[in-house]
């Protein structure tokens, strides 16, 4: 019928029904940095970066890859099958059911995408996390994705880039999730032995077992502005030391000040920065 009955009314109902949902999904977003309301279309045009405070909001893997590869062109590498729910894990919900929910929602098998293409004309393989899939947590599938990316880079003599966006370990895979720390480190060693570049693009968030393995072993570590990067959770640290944390603790800028990353690059400049960098290190 008209705009009011078709769109506004159901959205209003949704608003009344759920207290927590502040805005309709597709219209406005609240910036997690400055809490300004951001109009969806403008936000997309601005690469999901807040126009007021420059907060870099999380973006989908698809958008991320389109942004980085030349002309937005890339090819995905299919990932092999991995063991499903080997521990038959169940908390308040079965892990198998959680997996199914996320697969239906994201239309992806797990939190990892491996893609090949060029950046500034140089061959590149990217293993990228999808935070939208169980918080980008690292289990067997993610670990295999990092290994697959490294193997492909070695095979095609390409640069290897990992893009973590992950809270850390996939608790539902328990010890096998912890074992992805050495397993992904082997991927880094394969790239090192082939004398190929290994670049990490740290995005929000990079924490826990992900930061304490392949993500902190890059030849070059680039961070997006204001990303949360660290090992232990802020709450855990506060509870341990019983003090307030310093301003800006565990942000990209804080890590840069403490010598833990090489440079911070804004999203809009990532393609050109990576192109330049690769032109220096790849013949």
């Amino acid at each position: 019928m008209n705009w009011l009955t078709d769109y506004v009314r159901p959205k209003l109902k949704e608003l009344m029904g759920k207290e927590k949902k502040d805005v309709p999904d597709n219209l406005w977003h609240k910036c997690p940095g400055c809490e300004q309301m951001l109009y969806h279309r403008e936000l997309v045009e601005n690469l999901s970066v807040c126009q007021y405070c420059n907060h870099h909001l999380r973006i989908s893997v698809k958008k991320r890859l389109e942004l980085l590869f030349d002309g937005g062109n890339y090819k995905e590498i299919p990932l092999g099958k991995v063991v499903q729910d080997p521990l038959k894990f169940k908390d308040t919900k079965k892990y198998a059911d959680r997996l199914k929910t996320y697969r239906d929602k994201t239309k992806r098998e797990d939190a990892m995408t491996v893609a090949v293409g060029t950046i500034g004309g140089k061959k590149v393989v990217i293993s990228a996390f999808d935070f939208g899939f169980m918080g980008g947590s690292m289990g067997m599938a993610v670990g295999e994705g990092i290994l697959k990316g490294a193997e492909e880079a070695v095979r095609s003599k390409a640069a290897f880039i990992t893009i973590p966006a992950s809270g850390g370990a996939r608790m539902q895979e328990a010890i096998l999730s912890l074992m992805q720390m050495p397993r992904t480190t082997i991927a880094v060693q394969m790239i090192r032995e082939a004398k190929l570049p290994y670049i990490v693009l740290l995005t929000d968030p990079t924490t826990g077992g992900v930061s304490a393995s392949f993500a902190m072993l890059g030849d070059i570590a680039i961070a997006e502005p204001k990303a949360t990067i660290g090992f232990a959770g802020k709450r855990v640290i506060e509870e341990t030391i019983r003090e307030k944390l310093p301003e800006g603790f565990q942000t990209s800028e804080y890590l840069l000040d403490h010598g833990m990353v090489d440079l911070i690059v804004e999203r809009k400049d990532l393609h050109s920065s990576l192109s330049k960098l690769l032109s220096h290190i790849l013949k």
Partner: protein, 315 residues
Amino acid sequence: MLTLDFEKQIHDLETKIEELRHMASGEEMDIIEEISTLQNKVDKLLKQKYSKLSAWEKVQVARHPERPHTKDYIKDLIEDFIELAGDRNFAEDAAIIGGFGKFNGNPVMVIGQEKGADTESRMKHNFGMPKPEGYRKAQRLMLLAEKYDIPVITFVDTAGAYPGVGAEERGQSEAIARSIDICLGLKVPIISVVVGEGGSGGAIAIATANSVLMLEHSVYSVISPEGCASILWRSADRKKDAAAALKLTAQDLHKLKVIDDIITEPLGGAHRHHKEIFKNVNNALQKELTNLKKLNGQTIMIQRRKKFLDMGRNL
């Protein structure tokens, strides 16, 4: 000795035995007989209880304060131990101790987390929770061992890497990642023994080994049961459920092929009979060392890598 909640009945009997021993000044046969009956009862109960400890009960045993720690193993198993300190960059971190010594007559590098045994030593060793400089010291010692072609033995016993502001500022993540990297690249054997708690990244940093052994009642996990419960169940009270779900016992991890072997503990756990556990650990370590000694450096490295690459692929 600290009594764990599931050991109350055993504890009561043991107290009674102690009292009887005090009373029996001479050769009173009836008292000696009584003691022997009670002792049999205690042994039977211990056997019953310890043969089927739940995951959470194992966590409690693994954290038992009188359970031997890294220092105790070094004292008993390593001759002429020379402790080495410092990471050469920032500080000495006694949460990880390490140095050269001889194991059954052969040189080894020993590295391990130390929790401490009383308030003073617990403070000194930061309760076995290493900071970046602890891991960087471990890296330095592992590379030294490689230089001198000496095998590395690590004792794992930590609740986890220390969560603090300074630790984060100095790159806790990088320190752990680099330790794993160095473990994986070493051309000398590394054998790790989880003697108490294997707490997540803080443990694997020194446990990426050719051979990972666990004491029968030790635990090894990606997160503590309390932490897991509060995140997934939103209630730390569900720690027992979390412990079971995490499959953190030596027996479960052996089935998952994450660890290579289990070292039997004496009746009633390692904390009851230190000498006996030292002997069992000695035998297990010697067996692994003898096997690994036959391999050359390159093979040792490849074997270690392959083991971790295969993990989880054949379940």
